[in-house]
């Protein structure tokens, strides 16, 4: 569907001034990590996971070569507090760094707002919203309206007691339509207590199923989203943001359009930084069970996808919950195509028993989204390589 209006995509690009202005005036860069005795950002307590990320801006490259300005989270793991702003400015990643914790662990997630270097006129706070966290409290929910959010140059440490396993994701919730369109999204998973025990030949599971029905051998993220290039260009060039006209025409898996989805290397941005670090190539040995951790965080589209494996998608989890009724009835779904609306997450098992070794495809059946903008044969597609035993 076409938009009715298009805002200034052809406005003359401003020369960019990257200001590493001293933000120390009100700077509170503080990574909180209980049990970290030697200052390396890792807790000595095995039940505590500490992660350090940053919120700011950067650049990415689309699969047709178009460079686009983004906001997102960067990876400040192991970076000393006094180096975070300097080192992580313009180092936003798409998607944001993946966070994995085990059921029962406590996550101390510090997010430092390093500011938007390309837009020194903006002073947006940033937050982290753990999408789907059960029984959340607003102070750590990342919704800016009922909580404090970190201003530029400052950190906020979020605390989560990860008691419910499943496939989640996280994103900034400040001016959500803008910050999410600009790319502040990442994968977040909680592995179940059942992991490590052996049931039905598996030691990794999506949930505490008790019977191995969510057991898998290999897992892969399938984070769906899209970019509206006109919106990103407007943001880059200090123009009014076209909310009403917003329409994603660069659909992506894990931050890339096909064929970049199958490229095992980082995709470099215009500054030579590998902002897009998450390939989407899915590989398995014939007979293995693949777990796809699927979510959609597009601000304009829902996406439907299928695979050409010839085996169904077995949906065992939805919204970080095992598909079982209140009294234990099996409500899992067996489908060939799955529609994922914004905000939805699914756990999909592909059982490759009987699948001949070879290359197959995971792709959107919303065929118009097999595009990188005006370039065909791109978009939401990746390859599944089944290797012989």
């Amino acid at each position: 569907m076409k938009r009715r209006t298009r805002y200034g995509s052809m406005i003359v690009l401003l020369t960019l001034f990257v200001w590493l202005c001293p933000l120390a005036v009100s700077a509170n860069v503080l990574v909180q990590c209980p049990g970290d005795t030697n200052g390396d950002g890792i807790s000595e307590d095995p039940n505590i996971v500490c992660r350090s990320i940053t919120g700011g801006d950067g650049y990415t490259t689309m699969a047709d070569g178009l460079g686009l300005y983004i906001f997102s989270f960067g990876d400040a793991e192991g970076v000393p507090s006094d180096r975070v702003i300097a080192d992580l400015t313009l180092k936003a990643q798409l998607p944001a760094p993946t966070i994995v914790v085990k059921q029962g662990q406590e996550l101390y997630l510090t997010m430092t707002n390093v500011g938007m270097a390309v837009r020194p006129d903006l002073f947006d706070p940033h937050t982290v919203h753990w999408h789907g966290f059960p029984n959340a409290a607003p102070i750590f929910d990342g919704l800016p309206e009922p909580s404090p959010s970190a201003n530029m140059g400052n950190s906020f440490t979020y605390y989560y007691n990860a008691v419910v396993p499943g496939t989640y994701f996280y994103h900034c919730h400040v001016e959500a339509a803008e910050h999410m369109q600009m790319g502040m999204i990442g994968n977040l998973w909680v592995t179940p207590k059942q992991d490590g025990t052996s049931i039905g030949g598996f030691t990794k599971f999506a949930y505490n199923d008790g019977d191995g029905s969510t057991g898998y051998d290999v897992d892969f993220p399938v984070l769906l989203t899209g970019f509206d290039s006109f919106f990103h260009i407007a943001s880059d060039t200090v123009q009014a943001l076209p909310f009403a006209a917003m329409f994603d025409e660069y659909p992506m898996i894990n931050g890339r359009g096909y064929p970049d989805t199958i490229n095992p290397n980082d995709i470099l941005n215009q500054d030579g930084f590998g902002a897009q670090k998450e390939p989407s190539l899915i590989t398995a040995t014939a007979g293995q069970r693949i777990l796809l951790r699927v979510c959609n965080i597009s601000t304009t589209h829902q996406y439907t996808f299928a695979t050409t494996l010839g085996v169904p998608l077995k949906v065992v989890g939805r919204g970080a919950a095992l598909l079982r009724g209140p009294d234990g009835k099996d409500t899992s779904m067996v489908v060939n195509v799955l529609n994922v609306g914004g905000g939805q997450a699914y756990d999909v098992i592909l059982d490759t028993s009987g699948v001949a070794p070879g290359t197959y495809f995971l792709y959107t059946t919303d065929l118009a989204n097999l595009s990188n903008g005006q370039q065909e044969r791109g978009g939401i597609m990746t390859e599944i390589v089944i290797n012989p035993l």
Binding site: M1, D330, V335, V337, Y360, D366, L367, E376
Partner: protein, 360 residues
């Protein structure tokens, strides 16, 4: 046993039973299909170029004029006892084609086929060339080149309602109309375990953007020199069809055809979305029972008067005749695609009607 039964809607839609087509292969459904270009007339009289499948009537690809193509293509049946589906495909287009059925295993697949996009001067088959991260897939399965005949075999064919589609540049070829229903029951008039039916109808939803389809037919679409449209990302459909027809086409006045549907009789509706957009089939005035999705029977059926049908999905529903005839109930798209190029009434609107055979 199996009798040849043809239900025709404006000559577009055939239901073919296996026995008359089978050529000496026990336990196999075998069809000869051609794919070619044609012109389709919309409900408002305008014409749109399409690419569709047609059955070759004498299964030898030699007699001219006996393979009119249609969109949707002819509905094919795989017998309940057939384990194998074989399709011989003759390509009358000027670009390669291939076939795939989501949810079924193409046993003799010797593809996929990648090209050095955008020039497409080099191809690789079977695997991506090592270290090459710029080649793009053109076909999910092995290709049948223009003028050639290809064979596609699905062994251990699963029962249910499916859709056969082009597996070559699907955004282009499936959009142009290369799709058709394929159904397999588990027994005589038995769609799934404990799901008997008296009559059936397939309802295929799809849309047409004439600007894109004209560009595809003219060769000015895609990553080709002189293209006016590069991709379908800005597609804007102008026509909305059920079984290749739009309201007020005659066939939609009684979409389930003149098959017995009266007191207590069960109509099996096989919904298929062959389009590029989600549709929401909705029945006005009745509930139906949803029994299966993508060819897999639900463990527990659902009672609903409407449901979301995303692209590529099939849903099987049973509608029981609620009362003595005559009755009719609207079946339409709750996404409100009820126009023909903007003019109301039109688009995805039809009636399910009762029907009492003369011999009753």
């Amino acid at each position: 046993m199996f009798l040849k039964k043809t239900i025709t809607f404006q000559g577009f839609f055939l239901f073919v039973c296996l026995l008359t087509i089978m050529v000496g292969k026990a336990g196999a459904a075998e069809y000869w299909l051609q794919v070619g270009a044609a012109e389709m007339t919309m409900a408002d009289g305008s014409k749109v170029p399409v690419w569709g499948f047609g059955l070759d009537q004498d299964s030898n690809f030699t007699t001219t004029g006996d393979h009119a193509v249609s969109v949707p293509g002819p509905a094919l049946r795989v017998g309940a006892d057939d384990k194998v589906l074989i399709i011989h495909l003759k390509n009358n287009l000027s670009e390669p084609v291939s076939l795939n059925i989501l949810g079924q295993n193409l046993t003799n697949n010797s593809g996929p086929v990648w090209t050095n996009f955008p020039n497409d001067t080099e191809t690789w088959s079977g695997a991506r060339p090592a270290g090459n991260y710029t080649a793009r897939v053109r076909s999910f399965t092995h290709e049948t080149l223009p003028g050639q005949v290809g064979e596609y075999r699905w062994e251990s064919f699963r029962s249910g309602t499916y859709m056969l589609q082009s597996a070559t540049n699907p955004a282009k070829q499936v959009q142009m109309g290369m799709f058709l229903p394929v159904v397999k029951d588990v027994g005589q008039k038995l769609a799934y375990t404990d799901v008997p039916y008296d009559s059936e109808v397939v309802v295929v939803f799809h849309e047409i953007d004439p600007t894109i389809q004209n560009a595809i037919a003219a060769g000015t679409y895609g990553a080709v020199p002189g293209a006016t449209i590069g991709s379908s990302v800005d597609r804007e459909a102008k026509y909305f069809l059920m079984n290749g027809m739009s309201y007020p086409d005659e066939g939609l006045q009684h979409i389930n055809g003149k098959v017995a549907l009266y007191e207590g009789k069960r109509l099996l509706i096989r919904f298929i979305n062959a389009g590029l957009d989600t549709h929401v089939p909705q029945l006005q005035g009745l509930y139906m029972t949803l029994w299966a999705e993508d060819g897999t029977r639900y463990q527990y059926p659902k009672e609903a008067y409407g449901f979301s049908l995303p692209t590529g999905k099939t849903v099987d529903a049973i509608l029981v005749s609620p009362k003595e005839p005559p009755w009719h109930y609207p079946l339409y798209d709750a996404r409100m695609n009820l126009n023909n190029n903007g003019v109301y009434p039109g688009g995805m609107f039809s009636y399910i009607r009762s029907s009492v055979p003369d011999h009753r």
